[in-house]
């Protein structure tokens, strides 16, 4: 256990990257997810087509490939670069990949929320003369968001766990799982306690999320 505690700074450092990846990707994927959902339920056929092709394609691609594409494709081949320092550059590339991937699942969750809204409400709103955007903003989205708090919590937890994939070669963010792998490779730390330590770290991040979102979804549930 001492060897693990001696490495505690490294552990904290790893988890700080994990949290940074999760937080920023969550914001971007939520924003992109809302846009995608609006496109998928919009009256304009071309927008629907574009959004559904995007979601179907990205959601069925392994995250490893998406992140690899960000590292090798966008960065090395396309020359896309976000920051001077390597550390932050790979961070933003990973955020880009994680957000692009997670947005699909956010959009799926939101769309299922839109589907829960009774037909009559939307017809009533339309018959009052509300436009599509007003309908979305005032009637549909507030209720849809409330009914998908639970699923969105699942997406956030999955995102937290998916940040470990950002350690893939060609990207290599120094997040927690990579720190753990490096410790194992050095062969000095006790393996089992280290593993359990890192596992507890992730559980500490994920369990409260599940709990908070679970409670929120019950409290905010739309009574019908």
């Amino acid at each position: 256990m001492e060897a693990f505690l001696a490495n505690f700074n490294v552990v904290i450092d790893g988890f700080s990257w994990t949290i940074r990846l999760t937080a920023i990707s969550a914001v971007f994927s939520f924003a992109l997810g809302i846009v995608l959902t609006a496109m998928r339920v919009s009256p304009v056929p071309l927008l629907r087509l574009m959004a559904s092709v995007y979601v179907e394609a990205v959601r069925n691609t392994p995250l490893t490939l998406v992140l690899l594409f960000c590292g090798l494709g966008l960065n090395s081949a396309l020359g896309l670069s976000f920051a001077e320092s390597v550390e932050w550059n790979v961070y933003w590339l990973a955020v880009l990949g994680l957000s692009a991937y997670t947005a699909c699942f956010v959009s799926e969750a939101l769309r299922s929320g839109v589907n829960t809204i009774p037909f009559g409400q939307i017809e009533a709103a339309r018959s009052l003369g509300l436009t599509f955007m007003q309908n979305m903003r005032l009637i549909v989205l507030p209720q849809a968001l409330r009914s998908v708090i639970g699923p969105l919590g699942s997406v956030l937890i999955a995102l937290t766990k998916n940040t470990t994939v950002a350690s893939v070669a060609g990207l290599g963010v120094q997040e927690a799982s990579r720190e753990m792998k490096l410790m194992f490779d050095q062969g000095v730390v006790p393996v089992l306690p280290t593993f359990i330590g890192f596992a507890i770290g992730f559980l500490v991040l994920c369990l409260p999320m599940g709990w908070i979102f679970g409670t929120l979804s019950k409290r905010m549930a739309v009574a019908r």
Binding site: V41, L65, N115, G153
Partner: protein, 338 residues
């Protein structure tokens, strides 16, 4: 792509009148333009001519920057390797076989693991419920990649803990991937199975008990067989997750399909064509599997059965959301049940 074929009016808007139709055309044009600009940027970037355009935007009007450049990714040379059958038989297929092997072994083991722990969570003995619950929640709550890393380090752990000398047993990347996939997906399936068994009407088990069956008989002969069909869609959907996650093997040098394409990309300097073709293969397989899951679910619905549905997210299923999501299958588009 069901969206394309839906001709019935959507729930959120009426059929457009002349004004709305005109407005929609304007939006379509804008959307098409935005998409075209994005695609053009990506095209030029991978064509290595973006720098030229940035120096002199007027070059966009000429044909030169659009022609596939020699050192770009779109030139025929970069795609030609994929026309060679030996590349497919020599590199892609072996990788695909490894991916399917890992996925195949894992799904079978995960179903067994899921059954054991799903039933364990329904046990009459509190301590069995508790142990099974803890195991399932633990493996569901930590990242799959960490499980794979840990399995790879198992010989070291065994050496540290029990003094097992190195070389007694080896952990290949395939083993690590299979163990990781089994534990994670098995835990997810355990929850699905539990929900599936719970969804069998109570009268069934009561009738069986009143016929004098024991607990094991009721479970094995009455509940599990009936639950299986309601769990099929979820199992197939989990197979998609499993197949995608098998690509994590790339990180631990497991020679699966993504690694094959990565090797091709390095050998022929065609990273982008390799990535595109690799993604297409995954998409085709996964979309077909998802279709199968949807078809199974519809079939269950036609037969008046409820499908146990646990996965809403790429990873963690139902924090409490399953009830919400399950309801959405009953949208007006669905055919009336029964």
């Amino acid at each position: 792509m069901s969206v394309l074929k839906t001709k019935e009016p959507s729930r959120l808007f009426d059929a457009p009148g002349p004004k709305a139709a005109a407005r929609q055309r304007v939006y379509s044009v804008f959307a098409a333009l935005a998409a075209a600009v994005l695609l053009a940027w990506v095209y030029l970037g991978f064509n290595r001519t973006w720098e030229v355009v940035r120096a002199d935007p007027g070059a966009l009007l000429g044909g030169d920057v659009w022609r596939p450049a020699e050192d770009g990714q779109w030139t025929a040379d970069k795609w030609e390797p994929f026309l060679d059958p030996t590349l497919w038989t020599g590199m892609v297929l072996p990788g695909m076989v490894q991916t399917l092997t890992a996925a195949g072994i894992s799904i079978v083991l995960a179903i067994v693991f899921g059954l054991v722990f799903g039933i364990g969570r329904l046990s009459d003995h509190a301590w069995i419920r508790w142990v099974c619950g803890t195991v399932v929640e633990f493996f569901r709550g930590i990242p799959l990649l960490m499980l794979i890393f840990f399995t790879l380090a198992a010989p070291l752990a065994a050496n540290q803990l029990f003094g097992v000398p190195f070389g007694t047993f080896l952990v290949t990347p395939l083993t690590a991937v299979v163990v990781g996939l089994t534990l994670y997906n098995g835990s997810v399936l355990a929850e699905v199975f539990r929900a599936g068994i719970n969804s069998v009407p109570k009268g069934q088990s009561e009738a069986a008990y009143s016929l004098g069956m024991g607990k094991t008989q009721v479970m094995g002969l009455i509940l599990v067989p009936q639950a299986i069909s309601s769990m099929m869609p979820a199992i197939v959907a989990q197979l998609v997750v499993l197949l995608k996650d098998s690509a994590l093997g790339y990180i631990v040098a497991f020679p699966e399909m993504l690694r094959s394409f990565s090797l091709i990309g390095t050998r022929f300097q065609n990273v982008i064509p390799a990535a595109i073709i690799c993604a297409l293969i995954y998409i085709v397989i996964n979309v077909s599997l998802s279709r199968l899951a949807i078809w199974l679910e519809r079939r269950n619905a036609r037969r008046g059965k409820v499908s146990a549905k646990a996965t809403v997210a790429p990873g963690v299923p139902g924090v409490a959301p399953t009830d919400v999501v399950a309801d959405t299958t009953a949208t007006p588009e669905d055919p009336p049940k029964g």
